[in-house]
């Protein structure tokens, strides 16, 4: 009974006893959820258009952030460093398409997945060689991101909302909106979706596979840069950021590999739930640090009931 009480009742009493703390926890979870959603979005875009499970998305985040900070350290003004970083990401997209993807067109999915792991390793080695392995500080102020904090006093308690987190949430929202408009309204966006539906049909109506692949990897690079700035402002820029790439994987499972909505909903859900679980169940009952696995186990359980994720396309298998 005592154990059941600890698991099923006590955490909720704690929540009700300190609603302001609960709100703080929810907000923190939401902010990290936004970041997971952004990374997952990069995955989804590439998966939708090319059926490539891009393992390198996480390292692209690190690489973009390091390039930005590295350029600034070399004396480039911050606002000029951003477009320059985008140029670097574009070159990267072209290089990946030319060197890796083009020779591997038509190979089984798993081979392409392995190739992206190869890209990941290459970028880790390359990035560490150029920028060094130590932690760097994101140039938050130079990019004119406000760093103050708002405080509220709901229920007579205390709630702290940092302006940079708020900026992150708003910025991510705008980015997602622009992306959705681009995918659904522009000619290029339609081409991307067509390619995702059927490669050969898309090729036969004159859509260029290589152009679209470069474009998609470039967009993934832009998302990576945005994620890198936001996450770097919270935690500094180093290769430790890599681990958040793994966090995007359960988000993908939960939301479905080819759903933009799924990536966003899944990201937010996992961000909030893993924080709640860690604070109210993990730390008091399990010795903490449950964030490393909670998202995976949660997604695994959901997947047992919906094997294609919450928003994924229904899997129809034919012999």
């Amino acid at each position: 009974m005592d154990v059941l009480h600890k698991i099923l009742v006590a955490p909720f009493i704690d929540m009700a006893a300190a609603p302001d703390f609960l709100m703080q926890v929810l907000w923190e979870g939401l902010v990290s959820g936004v970041l997971y959603a952004l990374i997952a979005l990069g995955f989804v875009l590439i998966y939708k258009s090319s059926r490539i499970f891009n393992f390198a998305q996480g390292i692209m985040v690190v690489f973009a952030a390091l390039t930005l900070v590295g350029l600034h350290e070399k004396g480039v003004p911050a606002l000029l460093a951003v477009p320059l970083t985008l140029v670097v990401m574009f070159v990267l997209a072209v290089a990946i398409e030319r060197v890796v993807l083009r020779p591997l067109v038509n190979q089984p999915d798993v081979i392409l997945f392995m190739a992206t792991i190869g890209i990941t390793l290459f970028l880790i080695g390359f990035g560490e060689m150029i920028f060094g392995g130590e932690n760097k500080v994101m140039i938050t102020e130079q990019l004119m991101i406000p760093t103050g904090a708002y405080t509220f006093e709901p229920f007579g308690g205390f709630l702290l909302i940092e302006q940079k987190d708020l900026t992150a949430v708003v910025g991510a929202g705008i980015l997602v909106l622009v992306l959705l408009v681009f995918l659904n309204r522009s000619k290029m966006g339609r081409a991307i979706r067509a390619l995702g539906d059927d490669h050969q049909a898309a090729l036969s109506v004159g859509i260029s596979l290589s152009t679209i692949w470069v474009l998609v990897w470039f967009i993934a690079g832009i998302i990576a840069l945005a994620t890198g700035i936001v996450w770097g402002a919270r935690a500094g820029v180093s290769f430790a950021l890599e681990v958040i790439a793994f966090k995007a994987l359960p988000v993908l499972m939960l939301g479905g590999l080819e759903s933009v909505t799924g990536a966003i909903v899944g990201g937010l859900a996992i961000g909030v739930l893993e924080k709640l679980f860690e604070i109210y169940w993990g730390q008091p009952l399990m010795g903490g640090n449950t964030e490393t696995w909670f998202a995976f186990v949660f997604a695994l359980i959901i997947l047992l009931f919906r094997p294609q994720g919450l928003f994924g396309e229904k899997i129809i298998e034919r012999v």
Binding site: L121, L257, G309
Partner: protein, 358 residues
């Protein structure tokens, strides 16, 4: 010319399905085994034992376990490292609870524990497929490593949180612990690896292996021809985790000597995945070729600058190393997606028909 197969007639089905339909294969293998069992141990230095021979064998065994699951049964797994950890911790507990237990038996039993956990994590594979399953295996990876850290019973409540391998004697010879000689450890590992490899070759050639391949190529079609998918997949998870668990126990007891939970983290899983891929999925030989390449390459890269008398910063070397392995994976995939084993198969084919092109 060396591989001329003319004159080797098959007069019945039995000889057609023999393990070595071509006599030269058997000869080649005999030479390799002679080197592995006699020549290397006699010539190798302490350094060669510890940085090349023993790790190559252990990594090859782990890759073999993964290859059975991914290459033969088609279930992509990213959690190999954690299952090695289960084997290692199980062996550690067995040795502490039964101090008189023969180490070879302890290692054999510890594989059963990781097989059991592998079965549990294999259950979802019936509903979850492809990349979704790959991510699901990451759940095992992260959860188990977390457990190794938090469940202090596993490491006998010691303060460091790491496991230390005790000194264990077998038939009067020290086989593990700091005082064990490298040659004894090498033979110990070589024996287990040889036995498991022979078993694996025969499992994959037989009825179970054909069942796995059918499931890998198209599971619905396999189900339609009467293969029990649940059984086929669970056997694959069980056998694979058993081998991986044994390799994990060897990894800690016969090579590392001590282990912390983060040793079994994602990088280890990935290194084994690389070995299996570069070597060739769906091949037994490939695991050994891949392990030789992935383990030997860093050692060679470390030696080259010294040989030329150039001082290179060790961290720079490390980064170049990672880059080269990344580039190597991409290169192998582009040149031959089926890995080194396929490259050898092509060479062998060419040798057989030489000097004719077809």
């Amino acid at each position: 010319m060396l591989y001329r197969i003319t004159g080797q007639f098959k007069t019945n089905y039995r000889s057609d399905y023999a393990l070595f339909p071509v006599r030269q294969d058997m000869f080649l293998l005999a030479v390799i085994l002679f080197f592995a069992w006699v020549v290397f141990p006699l010539m190798a230095s302490e350094f060669a034992f510890q940085t090349l021979l023993i790790p190559v064998l252990i990594y090859a065994l782990a890759a073999l376990g993964l290859n059975i699951l991914t290459g033969y049964a088609g279930q992509l797994s990213l959690g190999t490292g954690a299952f090695m950890g289960v084997g290692a911790y199980a062996c550690y507990k067995l040795v502490t609870i039964f101090p008189d237990l023969n180490l070879m038996l302890a290692i054999g039993f510890s594989g059963l524990f990781s097989a059991a956990i592998g079965l549990a994590f294999g259950l979802p594979s019936l509903r979850i497929k492809g990349f979704y399953l790959a991510i699901a295996t990451l759940a095992a990876q992260f959860f188990l490593v977390w457990l190794f850290e938090k469940w202090s019973w596993l490491y006998n409540y010691n303060a460091s949180g790491a496991i230390q391998v005790p000194t264990i004697d077998m038939f009067g010879i020290t086989v593990s612990g700091p005082t064990a000689s490298s040659m004894v450890q090498y033979y110990f590992v070589l024996f287990i690896v040889s036995v498991i490899t022979i078993l694996a070759i025969n499992i994959t050639r037989g009825r179970i292996g054909r069942m796995w391949k059918a499931v890998r190529d198209m599971d619905i079609a396999a189900e339609l021809v009467g293969i029990n998918l649940l059984r086929a997949k669970l056997i694959a998870f069980g056998v694979s985790s058993y081998i991986v668990g044994v390799s994990g126990a060897l990894f800690v007891f016969l090579w590392r000597g001590a282990a912390e939970p983060n040793l079994f983290d994602i990088p280890l899983s990935f290194r084994i995945l690389f070995i299996a891929i570069i070597g060739g999925l769906g091949s037994i030989l490939g695991n050994f070729l891949g392990a030789i390449l992935i383990i030997a390459l860093p050692v060679i890269l470390n030696i080259i600058p010294e040989a030329f008398g150039v001082e290179v910063d060790s961290s720079l070397l490390e980064h170049i190393n990672i880059m080269i392995i990344g580039a190597l994976i991409i290169a192998v995939l582009i040149i031959e997606p089926h890995g080194l084993a396929r490259i050898w198969a092509v060479i062998r084919e060419k040798l057989i028909i030489w000097p004719f092109p077809h």
